[in-house]
Amino acid sequence: MAGQVVEGTNDGISAVAPPKKVLVIDDNHTIVELIRHAVQMHGKFNVIVAYDGVQGLEQFYSEHPDCVIVDVKMPRMDGYQVVRCIRGDSASAHTPLIILSAMVEEDDQLTGLLSGVDEYLAKPFKPSVLCATLDRVMQITPEERERRMTQLASGAQDQ
């Protein structure tokens, strides 16, 4: 189970904040369970899951997760398309996004980053690295994300 986060309030009484939600989108059920276990052991997030890109978008817009971990190769809609859908809508453009994929060629990773993902992790993954990455992307501010996107975009002029 995800841990509860205790926050201070103005009147000095501690309040229990609801745990953050991570949406995991991957068509491999074993991988989903490995990720779920790693994230839940981390104790900061609840996990919701989807098994293809379209189901992932449905979960995203109904559950409003705080972060998304998505595979690339999936039925119906791939992970790059999911990332572009989320980044292309100003209502969701600043959601922390991680790709976790066995596609580890340089161009695969660059495509992910150019599509708008915050981090691109390779499978097989280490639970500690995944959780540290989760923590890191949750700290990225909209301004930092926009700055990074602009920097990546400006590289296009060099081609």
Partner: protein
């Protein structure tokens, strides 16, 4: 001929050529502002006019509204994808249609990116450049059969 001279001059201009399909004057103005002078921007109103342009002289990037007075952005995507030489043309749909169904339909029709209006000018400008770069990565991989 004058038309030949225009095409020659257009080709001497090294800026990326963006074909924008949208019949709304206010949206055209916004897109033009967002892209600034970095691109050669050409506007058309309908899907068949856009397809004619693509077949005659493929632009570097296509940006289309989904709802058009004649045809639709989705049918345009499908037609472009089967048009000779336009297989790798980067296509962005720019629309106020924001449902999951619309987004999925856009990608299934062949779009590479889907941006929801109202237009965030900085976001849009960056995404146009990013999309062009992404498609540049895809082309050699697809040609190698990856």
């Amino acid at each position: 001929m004058a038309a030949d001279r225009i095409i020659d001059e257009s080709r001497q201009d090294r800026r990326l050529r963006v074909l924008v399909v949208d019949d709304s004057p206010s949206e055209r103005e916004l897109v033009h502002k967002a892209l600034g002078d970095e691109y050669q921007v050409r506007f058309v109103s309908g899907a068949s006019e856009a397809l004619d342009v693509v077949r005659k002289d493929i632009p570097d990037l296509l940006v289309s509204e989904v709802d058009l007075p004649e045809g639709s952005g989705l049918s345009l995507c499908e037609a472009v994808r089967t048009s000779p030489g336009a297989r790798y043309l980067p296509i962005m749909l720019l629309t106020s249609r924001a449902s999951i169904h619309d987004k999925v339909a856009g990608f299934q029709a062949g779009a590479d990116d889907y941006v929801v209006k109202p237009l965030d000018m900085r976001l849009f400008n960056a995404r146009v450049r990013l999309l062009y770069r992404i498609k540049g990565l895809e082309k050699p991989r697809r040609e190698l059969g990856a």
